[in-house]
Symmetry: C2
């Protein structure tokens, strides 16, 4: 009995994205994430398992809704860039709970960038003013283009005011976005300073690589009615906002998961009791994302395992819908007699053959 595991490597995610388009991928993934935040209580929210070393951290981020189990492996190694390697890489696994069998092994370096952008724009649909058209993009690293496409698609952003201390990075973002046919109506402005980028923007996205408690945004750059999408501060000692912004009387802060955000988010610089809302309550309607047009809404995002779970499930669904060209790996042996592991490994048994993607065994898993 063949039980091959689906595989999505860098080549496959490239193929998928080129076939269906980044905008559609992000929009559909945002819907999956939204649905999962709506059924927040279905999930076991385990803490991530972190292994720290002198050069960085390796984390395993598990999540399960009782039907599917997922985990993401993700590292963070700032010095990697000096050797031409990525600071952050990731991969993930989706498994069915009823049998414990893995269904999918997938690269998540690209998928994380996509789910982060989907999450940002999804939050903004609840929190930004609906007439928002201009976004300042502070930091033009690996996230910038994905954020731009997400906000263009989901929030109607039509002007992008980019800012980076490296002019080459601003040029890169502009060049890449110009090559996307969907974005013909997106005006791109390169700003000389962060303040100039923010001036007139409705939304500010901060996605810098600053590795300390930085002051990328200060209160003077922030106007009433803005939405701040703060995604670059995502671990202890790494924040982007002047805490005085968070303390503004008109500020409304939403986080993904309060327990994690108090440690890793912008709010790590606030007193423990400072009021914040969790996104699940915004999605469910228990609290509003924005109370009035003059409020300063702040989405303090650090990335949460539930979003990776949504992304892996969406990837598996895409594989099944797209069908052809999917790749499988023989990560789990398919034995005719489970008791005869030895005979099938060392014998001439016809095992481990390549097979097409299969439906899971459990009826409950096929959602």
């Amino acid at each position: 009995m063949d039980r091959m595991v689906s595989y999505i490597g860098f080549a496959e995610i490239q193929t998928l994205l080129r076939r269906i388009g980044t905008a559609r991928f992000i929009a559909e993934l945002a819907k999956e994430i939204e649905a999962d935040y709506r059924r927040w209580s279905d999930f076991q929210h385990s803490p991530r398992l972190a292994s720290h070393s002198a050069t960085g951290v390796i984390e395993l981020m598990p999540a399960t809704d009782g039907k599917l189990f997922s985990f993401k492996y993700v590292n963070g190694h700032p010095a990697n860039t000096a050797s031409g390697l990525l600071t952050v890489t990731a991969f993930g696994v989706l498994a069915e709970v009823c049998t414990g069998y893995p269904l999918l092994v997938a690269e998540m370096t690209v998928a994380t960038a996509l789910r982060t952008a989907a999450m940002s724009a999804l939050a903004a649909t609840y929190m930004a003013r609906s007439d928002s058209r201009s976004m300042a993009m502070i930091g033009c690293g690996a996230q910038a283009e994905f954020q731009a496409i997400a906000f263009h698609t989901l929030c109607g952003i039509r002007e992008l005011r980019v800012r980076d201390i490296d002019p080459g990075s601003m040029a890169k973002v502009e060049r890449n976005l110009r090559s996307v046919p969907d974005l013909v109506d997106l005006r791109i402005v390169r700003a000389e300073t962060t303040a100039a980028a923010c001036d007139g923007a409705d939304v500010i996205t901060t996605a810098t690589a600053d590795k300390r408690n930085a002051f990328i945004l200060t209160p003077s750059m922030v106007r009433q009615g803005m939405h701040l999408n703060a995604i670059g501060g995502d671990c202890p000692g790494k924040t982007e906002l002047d805490p005085n912004i968070l303390l503004l009387p008109t500020a409304r802060i939403v986080v993904e998961y309060e327990r994690q955000a108090r440690i890793e988010g912008e709010i790590q610089r606030l007193p423990a009791g400072h009021p914040v809302h969790e996104f699940t309550d915004v999605v469910s309607g228990a609290v509003t994302g924005r109370e009035h047009p003059d409020e300063i809404t702040i989405f303090d995002s650090v990335g949460f395992a539930l979003e990776d779970h949504s992304a892996l499930r969406y990837l598996l669904r895409l594989l099944r819908e797209e069908g052809a060209g999917t790749r499988t790996i023989d990560l789990v042996p398919a034995l005719r007699d489970p008791r005869d592991l030895f005979g099938e490994v060392l014998g001439e048994a016809e095992v481990g053959r390549q097979a097409a993607v299969q439906p899971p065994l459990c009826a409950t898993t096929s959602s």
Copy 2:
């Protein structure tokens, strides 16, 4: 820059085993495990992360020595056999700590059977009488042949007295072992009862699938001077030995990791303070594995993340030594410019190409 991840699936482990032989594989792996237990304090011993459901458990078992990080994904789903699936499947990942990059993704269903057998026989080289020649094998499931080869190779076992409630399983073990050229001098005896299998044996290995606190072995089956290799009891509520065996005045109990064994091992049925030794102290010589020939030594094994770490490192070494025919997967993108993730995913960049197995980037990792 190519940074492909090595891959060992079921096909590759078959090829490796057939090329170098199961006996050599187990003997070399036992040496790796022994070396790792000798430097026990180099390892971070994290608790495993378990996700329980109505049908089973999914676990992530991490381990790191500061140079290499590993984790094993393993499930346990007893009802799987009814659908022709394995109760336990596993896979693992080895990564370098200095960059956080994964080096190897490997199937571990077979590798776990091999490392369990290697660990059992390794412990017996310290604990069994050196003149042990006969082993009772209680339970003829997936582990049995691997145990037989390990004890034949490392401990000089020349008689195997097999017992299983299913005669077909005994026949399977005999048939499989008869096909191994190295084992021509192994006498195989099928026993009518567990007591008959144990009668005259120097070593008793219990590897049954009984899912409760069972009494596979009772004190009347145990003679002075025997070594008990108890591997089937490995989770709360699943044990094989009558606790009175453990309480015999001449019994000497060794476990892999006391904290884990108190919860998962045979000793879960003993008072918390009952004296046991940890295998690292036996390997280092701090305590002896056996004090005198009449002692009843008991290796209460539940499987430990360090052994999986040793197995993954050994597999990677084998791949590098064997060279040709190794398979790689593009689990991590290789980008010319790490800041330009978008351009390289959506552009025409030449990334994700297949490449040969490479040495790790960090000098410290190449041990």
